[in-house]
């Protein structure tokens, strides 16, 4: 049985380092990195996708929570528009946020959510003459963060197809995350062959090694948007 102590946030008596109320507040703060539409998404909302996929996503979440960086650390979800890719990844993020140990208020969110356009425009800014730090430093910083946080890049290649900066930045980022055994989730409309056309052979080969066949999924069906 745990010793009764004081919550480090509110100083009330609690069994844990942070009491459940404070934990809820902190976890809700972490959820703010997710898009507002998907903040409450949950695995139980998915009736139409196979349970096997949900099972593997739970395995991925528990790998992340236990910090098993020597297993497969990547995840790719691709499919048509509107089939629920972003929602599924948000459910995964929510599952991780619920399970990660929460020790103090200033702890970073375990998720870094970056839409494609945001990532590419940050890279373009860094690459321009006015950028405050060079592109390689930006990407190295980001890849260092993925050692204990999950980087989600949503809709890869959607907003900025065939931009030179985007291609080289993605290649460098994937290479860095591959070398550092970082956590990376890629959501895309492109299948693997199309990703090879877009990002090149080197990036796709590293992604395959990073994810393994268990953590690559295709979502099929008609658009669920009405």
């Amino acid at each position: 049985m745990k010793e009764l102590g004081y919550c480090v946030e509110c100083r009330k008596l609690s069994n844990d380092k942070v009491c459940p109320n404070c934990q809820n507040i902190i976890r809700n703060n972490w959820r703010e990195c997710l898009p507002e539409r998907y903040r409450l998404s949950d695995f139980s909302q998915f009736d139409n996708i196979p349970r096997k996929i949900i099972k593997w996503l739970s395995v991925y979440a528990s790998n992340f929570v236990s910090g098993e960086r020597y297993s497969k650390t990547g995840l790719i979800i691709y499919g048509d528009v509107g089939v629920g890719k972003t929602m599924l990844v948000s459910a995964l993020c929510n599952c991780i946020i619920d399970r990660v140990a929460c020790n103090y208020r200033s702890q970073y969110s375990p998720i870094i959510w970056k839409p494609d356009q945001q990532f590419v425009s940050e890279c373009q800014w860094a690459n321009s003459a006015r950028g405050d730090k060079p592109l390689h430093e930006l990407i190295e910083d980001l890849s260092n963060k993925t050692k204990n946080r999950l980087l989600v890049i949503d809709d890869v290649g959607k907003g900025t197809p065939r931009l030179d900066v985007a291609l080289s930045s993605y290649n460098f980022l994937i290479d860095q995350i591959y070398n550092k055994l970082g956590w990376l989730v890629i959501v895309s409309n492109y299948s693997l062959s199309e990703t090879k056309e877009y990002l090149g052979y080197y990036a796709v080969d590293r992604l395959i090694q990073l994810c393994g066949t268990n953590f690559m999924f295709e979502m099929k069906g008609d658009s669920l948007r009405e």
Binding site: P134, S191, S193, Y201
Partner: protein, 124 residues
């Protein structure tokens, strides 16, 4: 000894202060030679004209931008004629060098491997 960052800052100051275009081009040539002491001789042929050409073709008309290109070329591991690369980049658009790079060293049966993998993923 002056560090690389201090040198870059002083370059920018100089370019901002100087109003003479020829002076600026001359200075950019000096920058290039300073940053590329081991550049092959073909890089140094007609270098002033080429830097002026690149400068004239840049959309931003910004000396900082040209300086950035020259500065980046010192850190990038692009061997050989970097200025020629930039010129072809400006002339032909950005697709050509990337597509050339993308397919270098790709195994013949790689597409088949990807298709098999996709079928495996689809059958889950």
């Amino acid at each position: 000894m002056v560090s690389d960052i201090e040198m870059c800052v002083s370059f920018q100051d100089y370019l901002l202060l100087s109003k003479d275009v020829e002076d600026k081009v001359g200075f950019l040539v000096l920058c290039f030679k300073r940053l590329h002491p081991d550049a092959p001789t073909e890089d140094n042929i007609n270098i002033g004209g080429r830097i002026a050409g690149i400068w004239a073709r840049t959309y931003s008309k910004d000396t900082g931008y040209v300086l950035k290109i020259i500065w980046d070329s010192s850190s990038a591991s692009i061997a050989g004629s970097h200025l020629n690369f930039i010129q072809s980049y400006k002339r032909n658009g950005y697709k050509q060098p990337v597509t050339q790079q993308k397919y270098a060293g790709i195994p013949n049966n790689y597409d088949n491997k990807l298709k098999k993998l996709e079928q495996e993923i689809r059958s889950k």
